[in-house]
């Protein structure tokens, strides 16, 4: 059992002093060598670079400097690949060029960015033995758009390049306009399947900036909501994984179980996705004694059926044959490329914001971890996390008094000139929101880092040397967000 870190997430800062560019870059290098990884790295309209570096159990360290005068600097990505997407964002949004970046290209084609979607450069090969396959942006199923470009040797994938950006809605701009306290419906749409994960990060950040604290019972309800979301989406993924390998019993078992779980959310807040449940300052819908016991018995019953279904699925030779050793990602890659969530935990990296950067209502938590890094590991971690989350909820509910939404606190205007970093562990992994207020308590910027931003690269690595027909299975085993990345 990992000990609970003695830090309190979210983290509140005043902007640190400006550093010289070389000190800034060296500072980052030294922190990387000391085991820190980048939480955030971005440019601001004030022509400044901001970098947040994180180590489990420690308060994140903020570094700040002005844009380089010649708008270029030596890229960090060759030495520390975790920065490769952050540097691409910076280049795309502000034209600051990281010299020597291995593959500098746009991320999401924001309006006014450096390039338009038609100019997107793809890695290509002249070899006559290789061919390219393009898929998307419109896919065969009911899913979000994105483009996948494969370079194949026969049926075997040599290389996959993932082009996103189709879902870009300008959500970070919208979040920074107007009263920051009224953005909950927008925060819930950062990724609609992670309404609670992103919603909780938003609420926590705003409450910290407004200097209020939410009563523990209400915070516990929010953690219950977060775990319900995790269970529901992991079930959706198990269902889809089963569907992709034509294990139709599993597809239907898990889909029906997901319905049970999300209907429990609906019974409390009216939304199957937990939308409108939380609000900055607390919650909109409480949990009465009757609701508490109904939720407990529903989850107990669901837990028993989940156990039966996972036992059947993971004992099926056909399932194991398709899952085992398919789409492997190494621990080294997971560490170097800043993967999080199931993607990291399935590759042997025991990171989880619930213990590394716990919100105050967490007691103790220990992440589940497997080593093989393949589809089997990611499916197993999901099954085990469902069980773990059910236990967590049962434990929280057993000691939870009746909770009324009336105990929510009202929010004064946010403190001026403060920066807040809020971290939650969504079902996909680490969600980071970075909010800065200006001198009049308006919002200077609102940055969102969805775990998918980093984790998409895991998919590109996983499919190398796999048959192209296994792509859907590999893709589903990560189940990453398009709109969470495109924002």
């Amino acid at each position: 059992m990992k000990e609970k870190a003695q830090i309190v997430n979210p983290f509140l800062y005043v902007l640190p002093d400006l550093m010289e560019l070389t000190d800034f870059l060296n500072g980052i290098r030294n922190l990387c060598l000391a085991g820190y990884s980048p939480l955030c790295f971005f440019g601001t309209a004030r022509q400044e670079l901001l970098c947040g570096m994180a180590l489990a159990g420690k308060e994140p360290i903020l570094l700040r400097c002005l844009f380089p005068q010649d708008m270029q600097y030596q890229s960090l990505s060759m030495e520390f690949p975790a920065f490769h997407l952050f540097e691409r964002e910076l280049w795309e949004e502000f034209g600051v060029t990281p010299l020597g970046h291995p593959w500098l290209k746009p991320v999401r084609f924001p309006i006014g960015g450096q390039q338009s979607m038609e100019q997107y450069p793809f890695f290509s090969s002249e070899s006559s033995a290789l061919h390219e396959v393009g898929v998307g942006p419109v896919h065969a199923g009911v899913i979000e758009p994105g483009h996948f470009r494969f370079i194949c040797h026969g049926e075997r994938i040599e290389h996959l390049e993932i082009q996103l950006g189709y879902q870009h809605r300008g959500i970070m701009n919208l979040l920074s306009q107007g009263d920051i306290r009224q953005k909950m419906p927008l925060a819930e749409c950062i990724a609609g399947d992670t309404a609670i994960g992103h919603g909780l990060a938003y609420c926590s950040a705003i409450e910290t900036l407004c200097n209020v604290s939410v009563p523990t019972a209400l915070q516990t309800v929010r953690l219950i909501a977060l775990e319900l979301e995790r269970i529901a989406m992991h079930l959706a993924d198990l269902s889809a994984l089963a569907g992709d390998i034509a294990y139709l019993s599993g597809q239907n078992f898990f889909a029906a179980l997901r319905t049970t779980i999300i209907n429990s959310s609906l019974a409390i807040c009216g939304s199957r996705f937990g939308k409108r449940w939380l609000k900055p300052g607390g919650i909109n819908y409480g949990l009465s004694k009757e609701q508490n016991s109904l939720l407990r018995s529903t989850l107990e019953e669901a837990g028993r059926q989940i156990e039966r279904c996972t036992r059947a699925m993971f004992a099926d030779a056909g399932v194991l044959n398709r899952f085992d050793s398919t789409g492997s990602v190494s621990k080294k890659a997971a560490l170097e490329l800043n993967f999080s969530g199931v993607t990291a935990k399935a590759s042997g990296l025991a990171i989880d914001a619930r213990c590394d950067f716990p919100l105050s209502a967490y007691t103790e938590f220990s992440p589940l971890c497997l080593d093989s890094g393949d589809v089997f590991a990611r499916a197993s971690i999901r099954a085990k996390e469902i069980e773990q989350s059910l236990d967590m909820i049962a434990h929280m509910l057993s000691t939870l008094p009746p909770v009324s939404a009336k105990d929510s606190v009202s929010l004064p205007p946010p403190m001026p000139d403060k920066l807040c970093i809020a971290i939650t562990e969504g079902w996909r992994g680490r969600i980071v929101h970075v909010v800065k207020t200006d001198s009049e308590s308006g919002t200077e910027f609102y940055r969102v880092i969805d775990p998918s931003l980093h984790n998409w690269f895991a998919l590109a690595l996983a499919v190398r040397n796999e048959g192209i027909s296994d792509f859907p299975l590999c893709n589903k085993s990560f189940d990453l967000s398009y709109c969470g990345t495109d924002l």
């Binding site: 189709y166 809605r169 300008g170 919208l174 419906p185 029906a256 059926q305 709109c483």
Partner: protein, 250 residues
């Protein structure tokens, strides 16, 4: 083998018996009613409504994201009923208005599409395009075909190719970067075809209507056949809307 049988036995029969007349949990915020004309309440609610859905004694279901703030603050004026039948075949009728004459409010309605009723009565194939959708409407559209809601029982299915489709069902506010692919998919569907808008974002731009990164110009030249409100649209709303359009709701 025995594990599978055990799971199957406990799984039982999961399909909702009659999705068109299913009961939904009372906490579900469905079709709203305006309970009274009250200038102050509408004015105040209009000022905080996140998508500007509240007007002069009216509530626009095409804009509403069902956050519930209006009914939580002014329960005497706004009520959301556990009624999933919210779709409409006309944009205008999505706006719920208070009528001073009858002291009641209007409700949306779907007119049967005569051409579809003739052509697609037993089989109706949808091609989904998500254009900036947050994956909530997409998941609900997917769930409409799952073991619980099973709209396949009515011959309604989501197909992989636009060539096989009778309709395009749009989710999302239409991001600029997705507009071209959206138009191309529409053009790839053979005639006759209809456009269906699913969710507040598709209908009105929802929470994103003021973003520079969305583009609804092309969409606004189109005449959609069906609007399904929600944030996201509930599977029962989707199924009921589609079946109403096909003239299959008694």
């Amino acid at each position: 083998m025995f594990n599978l049988l055990k799971a199957r036995i406990h799984h039982g029969y999961q399909a909702i018996h009659d999705p068109l007349n299913a009961a939904i949990h009372p906490s579900f915020p469905g079709l709203p009613t305006i309970l009274r004309a009250c200038k102050e309440d509408f004015c105040a609610a209009g000022s905080f409504c996140p998508t500007g859905a509240i007007g002069d004694n009216s509530l626009d279901l095409g804009k509403c994201v069902f956050c519930g703030e209006c009914t939580r603050r002014f329960p005497a004026t706004f009520a959301f009923n556990p009624n999933f039948r919210m779709a409409s075949s006309r944009r205008e009728s999505l706006i719920i208005r208070w009528d001073n004459q009858s002291n009641t409010c209007t409700a949306p309605a779907v007119e049967v599409n005569a051409a579809l009723k003739k052509l697609c009565i037993r089989s109706f194939a949808l091609r989904n395009v998500s254009a900036g959708g947050c994956n909530a409407c997409e998941l609900e559209l997917g769930a409409s075909s799952n073991v619980n809601f099973d709209m396949g029982r009515y011959g309604i299915e989501v197909v992989a190719s636009p060539r096989h489709a009778d309709a395009l069902i749009l989710t999302g506010p239409v991001s600029k970067n997705m507009e071209q692919a959206f138009v191309k998919t529409w053009e790839a569907i053979p005639d006759p075809k209809v456009l269906i808008l699913c969710g507040a974002c598709a209908i009105s731009g929802g929470s994103f209507v003021n973003s520079d990164a969305i583009s609804r110009d092309w969409l606004q030249t189109m005449q959609p056949a069906l609007y399904i409100p929600g944030c996201p649209a509930h599977p029962l709303s989707i199924i009921h809307g589609l079946m109403s359009l096909l003239g299959r709701v008694k």
